[in-house]
Point group: C3
Chain length 158, copies 3
């Protein structure tokens, strides 16, 4: 029997939306789906390494690079963020409930062989370089996404 | 013949996005689909009862509880909300056009046997208790969502 | 063999989200999918003609009409818009990378026979008239959307 397939376009750079994406992805992988998360636009920030990485950038690239969150742990909430306070509150509650934080959810996805893809076209637009992103991810464009999605059972845009 | 199936993850707490979700859900139910709306994160607010409900809450839960809208009628717009003015304007226009307001759309969905599910994991995170939510809804997690969605014809994340 | 099908509900009025929608739509059309973009709520603004159009409007309709962007080129970013500066930056980078701007992506979609639909119910709500929207688009409601989507291989809500 053919495996079921789940694909998620992660467009959003919000902590809570990325959490939802990774929770669904990890759930689907646990149910033996083939799972792809295609990170595009602000969703690429979830794949950024924590901390500074030395790369040559143009002025505009530098500006985007500085203003966007460096990695999953730095992303804000889509609602009630209050300059980061909301994110801290949610993380506090998550600790209390033993819920996994976003960086752990991403690690878990990699361990479960969820295919993490960075959209090369929007990497160019936002001036993100491969050196700045997590190891062991794939690089592709919309054609590769569609090839996965057209056979998908669950396709979501988040 | 097997029934067609529509599943919607309602993540958003915006009045207009919830309207879109419930209009699609009611449409699909009218076309004889089996329909599930899985309410998670801010989308849970659409299921909150109007007015105050006595429940024991921790400090953080109380804060979230106070700051989040109490029920569908209190939710704001995703765009041009202007502190609630935009929502009032939209509701004014809806009355003029005899369009159904969100609480009525939810009622209609329940009458059409749309399965309304509250995500238990995010209820915990946001400190929402069953007593605060509408009657006759279901409680489940991501596994139940995926079980419905993997056979879905139309799966949306809103 | 039956053609594959992609349907997108474009709810968002953000430049970047509309870009994502049209890039996926154009990609799917290039892979020989039948593609529909169903524009509802703020997504209708992507279909507005550039510049002023003379139509009779009520006071509320006039207000919405003035406040919403007139066409794809005027839409702002979902993140880091800074009163339009972010959109200008993105457009600058796009020019540098020879990426297509949104109005060109819409033109390309029309040339590839992507079906562009305006949701009549939300046109009424927002007071948008046919004269204000692009030529050669279709007008329909949620029933027509569902008829396309229930046979869709890739269905997204953006």
């Amino acid at each position: 029997m053919q495996k079921k397939r789940t694909t998620i376009v992660l467009f959003s750079g919000d902590y809570d939306k990325a959490m939802a994406a990774y929770i669904i992805a990890n759930g689907a992988a646990a149910y033996d789906h083939e799972v792809t998360i295609f990170h595009t636009f602000w969703g690429l920030n979830a794949l950024r390494k924590d901390g500074d990485v030395e790369v040559q950038k143009s002025g505009m690239e530098k500006m985007f690079g500085k203003m966007m969150p460096k990695g999953a742990d730095k992303m804000g909430l889509s609602k009630m963020n209050f300059g980061g306070l909301g994110q801290k509150m949610i993380k506090g509650v998550m600790k209390k409930h033993n819920a996994m934080e976003l960086p752990n959810l991403i690690e878990m996805a990699q361990e479960q062989d969820v295919k993490l893809v960075a959209c090369t076209m929007t990497m160019d637009l936002l001036g993100l370089h491969k050196e700045e992103l997590l190891e062991e991810i794939e690089y592709a464009g919309v054609a590769a996404y569609l090839a996965d999605a057209e056979d998908g059972n669950v396709n979501l845009f988040i």
